[in-house]
């Protein structure tokens, strides 16, 4: 008992303390989502009465197409995640495995370009997409397709960089063996690299997914129609109203929106840690 206390008690104390810190806001949000009042207040730590009003509002109110927003977010973030990994993976593979002139310069330029604060290029992106809208209204400003393209462009730099780290860690002997068998680089990519890297690609895709899911400055500007919005834009509007802040539905909506992400995150945790150490920062 004494030994246990010496070696493990302090571990539990620290862990429990940090868990409390981590859980505190979450508990509060859950509490507010079940509360009747519209504000995020804390009168007591135990719920006085449980009301499903806020949840019902999300699904019954015609003014709040919550499920459509959720679907939009999944479509936008899902497309960005998958396409950016496929496209970025190919570039990362080439940077890691192929020999060509200007490789060092290329990767340095890539790094440099990716450091530009994207938020400040918003005005420029807006102008470009507006011009695209002029001749291709389906992929220009105001469309999910346009937003996806912009996100894809933005995700390239980070993803290539991240994936390159993974490719570097896959033993080169494997593709050298393939080369001896007469495989072309394209074949090596599809037959050797992709199967090996699938878990890693999945993790990078997930990180892109979360990042895109979170983005709201561009989305707010791009997606105007009520039925077009993503969940972040839709929910943020609850508490960014001109005259009032409505925390109840916001809390309920946030919880529901977080659940899928949290589940994916927790189930892929092992891979994500590997991914993080390979050189990423949460975006």
């Amino acid at each position: 008992m004494k030994k246990w206390a010496r070696t493990n008690l302090w571990r539990h104390v620290i862990s429990l303390g940090m868990c409390a810190f981590a859980l505190f806001p979450l508990y509060l949000v859950i509490l507010s989502s079940f509360s009747q009042t519209g504000s995020l207040q804390l009168t007591s730590f135990a719920p006085s009465a449980i009301s499903w009003r806020n949840y019902k509002l999300l699904f019954n109110s015609p003014a709040i197409p919550y499920l459509t927003w959720m679907k939009n977010s999944l479509v936008v973030a899902g497309t960005v995640a998958i396409v950016s990994v496929i496209v970025g993976g190919a570039s990362a593979f080439a940077f890691s495995r192929l020999k060509f002139r200007g490789k060092k310069l290329g990767i340095q330029l890539l790094l440099l370009v990716q450091m530009f604060p994207a938020i400040l290029a918003i005005a420029a992106v807006y102008v470009i997409m507006e011009r695209v809208y002029r001749f291709a209204p389906r992929v220009g400003l105001g469309t999910q397709a346009g937003l996806i393209l912009v996100y894809l462009g933005g995700a390239m730099g980070v993803n290539i960089w991240l994936l390159k780290g993974f490719v570097d860690s896959i033993p080169i002997e494997l593709d050298e063996a393939a080369k001896i068998d007469g495989a072309s680089p394209v074949q090596t990519y599809w037959l050797i690299f992709v199967p090996l890297a699938t878990p890693v690609l999945a993790v990078v895709a997930l990180m892109s997914f979360i990042g895109t899911f979170n983005e709201f400055i561009l989305a707010r500007l791009f997606l105007v129609d009520m039925g077009n919005r993503t969940i972040a834009v839709g929910l943020q509007a609850f508490i960014a109203g001109q005259y009032s802040r409505n925390w109840g539905p916001f809390a309920a909506g946030s919880i529901l929106a977080s659940i899928p992400i949290v589940i994916i995150f927790l189930s892929l945790q092992k891979y994500i840690i590997g991914g993080l150490t390979a050189g990423s920062v949460k975006g």
Binding site: L40, L120, A123, A136, G153, N214, I273, G279
Partner: protein, 515 residues
């Protein structure tokens, strides 16, 4: 393997490739066609170049690396490089509220605004039609005074009440030598509304709605030959002042609105260093940005590392702790930041409730800064916990065992072996994290909005404003916007971040692997 190989070799592969390429080319050709039709030449050129590059790359056998790079490269170029170039260009423009549109648009608008109504503000009920020669004309009625006339761009014909057909309101609806144009037709083409219909002297009737005409005369006239605007009434002459406005030649403060965006070359950059109103806040914000990025990385790393060390050994409940501790990282940060904002509320916030205090967190500089760092600690410590525990596991256990056999105590092992090795692995990540927080826009924007600031004392930047949020405020702030100045700060931030990151990369020796 052989069947899989089939997919990448031989006729089947070639045909698949051709079908996909043809599809993409078809879409691109289509886009180029419509871009050209809308006179978007730059974009058409980019699309055409993309098309050529795609066909060449995927049909030639010589361009192997390009086959991998091209899609990413095109996306990167269109949505990252082009906006950067555009931002750099913008930073050399006087591009702010009042100087937003192009010069051509500004001239059109100055001409449109440069009219003044007659002394009585006379308006008429009108019907739009055509004369027998097919010329646009209006049939105007001033029913209280029984005045009726038909007017074209050149000629006004007065009519007697007996000559026109009146409706119940006394408005003329038909007249000789005048055919009414149906409203549906007018809606399709508003060219008629640009005509100044003859009235009297210098005055004309201008269409101000489907059924309304108002009497105006031109007061400002643009002279393309000398690029000047003349006030026809008082004779004042306005000249292009080189900064995006027409200014009175005798009084440079008397300018015509709207102005246009005009090149001012390095004036925005100059302003950053010479204008005390810009320089002062910028310097203060820079200091806080560095302090914030440093403190937030330090605190989150300290907590993350502590947790990693705590949970590094097998113990009961480790899986549970781990699952709970990464929750803040998994939850969409937009939502959690907004929730923290609510928790810091003075009156109702949970924080004050918990502490039994009544602190106005976001109204006081020190409290607001503390709150920002605390919230970011919550958001970021799981990340540092994850990477620290990853790094701890990467340290070969033989090394630690050997040290233990050599008689080193745990503290010595940690100080002499674990920590240095850990830092070696994590330094590049810490630097990257520093760079990320340097630009952590969402946190500041959503939590404090950059505030508080002593506005009455003349402060422009808030106490928690970091460079990027301050720049965003300059660019897209609510009252006045200065895109030119904001772009120039963006370019400077870019160099700072690039410097930090390149330093980090050199430190991690990552670039050498490309040698």
């Amino acid at each position: 393997m052989a069947t899989v190989n089939m997919l990448f070799r031989g006729k089947f592969a070639l045909i698949t490739k051709l079908i996909v390429l043809s599809g993409i080319s078809a879409i691109l050709v289509l886009l180029i066609e419509s871009a050209l039709a809308k006179k978007e030449y730059t974009i058409a050129l980019f699309l055409a170049a993309s098309l050529a590059a795609l066909c060449y790359t995927y049909l030639s056998a010589r361009t192997v690396p390009m086959k991998f790079f091209l899609p990413g490269l095109l996306l990167l170029f269109a949505f990252v490089v082009a906006p950067i170039v555009y931002t750099v260009v913008m930073s050399n423009y006087n591009y702010k509220t009042g100087n937003i549109i192009s010069k051509q648009e500004a001239i059109t608008q100055i001409k449109g605004l440069g009219v003044e109504p007659d002394a009585n503000g006379t308006t008429f009920d009108i019907v739009v039609g055509k004369t027998s020669t097919g010329e646009y004309a209006i049939l105007a009625s001033d029913s209280p005074n029984h005045v009726y006339f038909v007017s074209t761009a050149t000629k006004k014909t007065d009519l007697l009440p007996s000559q026109v057909t009146l409706n119940a309101d006394g408005v003329a609806t038909a007249a000789p030598n005048f055919t009414v144009v149906p409203e549906a037709q007018l809606a399709g083409n508003e060219d008629y509304a640009k005509i100044n219909f003859a009235y009297a002297d210098k005055y004309f009737v201008s269409v101000q709605g489907l059924n309304v005409g108002a009497v105006f005369r031109q007061s400002l006239k643009y002279n393309p030959a000398s690029d000047t605007v003349v006030n026809l009434i008082d004779g004042k002459i306005y000249k292009d002042n080189g900064r995006g406005n027409y200014a009175n030649v005798n009084d440079s403060a008397d300018i015509l609105q709207p102005g246009w965006r005009a090149t001012n070359w390095f004036a925005n950059y100059g302003k950053l260093f010479s204008d005390p109103l810009v320089r002062g806040p910028l310097f203060r914000v820079f200091i806080w940005t560095v302090a914030f990025a440093f403190l937030t990385v330090l605190s989150s790393f300290a907590f993350g590392l502590l947790l990693a060390l705590t949970l590094n050994k097998p113990m009961r409940g480790r899986r549970f702790y781990r699952g709970v501790l990464v929750l803040p990282y998994a939850i969409p940060s937009v939502m959690s930041i907004l929730i923290w904002g609510g928790m810091f509320d003075t009156e109702f916030g949970a924080i004050n409730h918990l502490l039994g205090t009544h602190i106005a967190w976001f109204q006081n500089a020190s409290f607001a800064r503390t709150a920002v760092i605390l919230v970011n600690l919550w958001l970021a410590f799981p990340y540092f916990y994850l990477i620290s525990s990853g790094a701890l596991q990467a340290i070969p256990s033989e090394l630690l065992e050997a040290a233990a056999i050599d008689g080193a105590n745990p503290r010595q092992i940690f100080k002499k072996i674990t920590l240095p090795l850990l830092m070696q692995i994590l330094t590049p990540l810490l630097i990257a994290s520093f760079a990320f927080n340097f630009n952590n826009f969402n946190l500041i924007f959503l939590l404090t909005g950059g505030g508080p600031k002593d506005l009455l004392g003349g402060q422009i930047a808030g106490a928690t404003d970091i460079l990027i949020s301050y720049t965003y405020q300059i660019a897209f702030g609510s009252n006045t916007q200065d895109l030119g100045l904001a772009s120039s700060i963006s370019v400077i931030i870019f160099f700072i971040i690039a410097g930090i990151s390149l330093y980090g990369l050199r430190k991690s020796k990552v670039l050498e692997t490309f040698g």
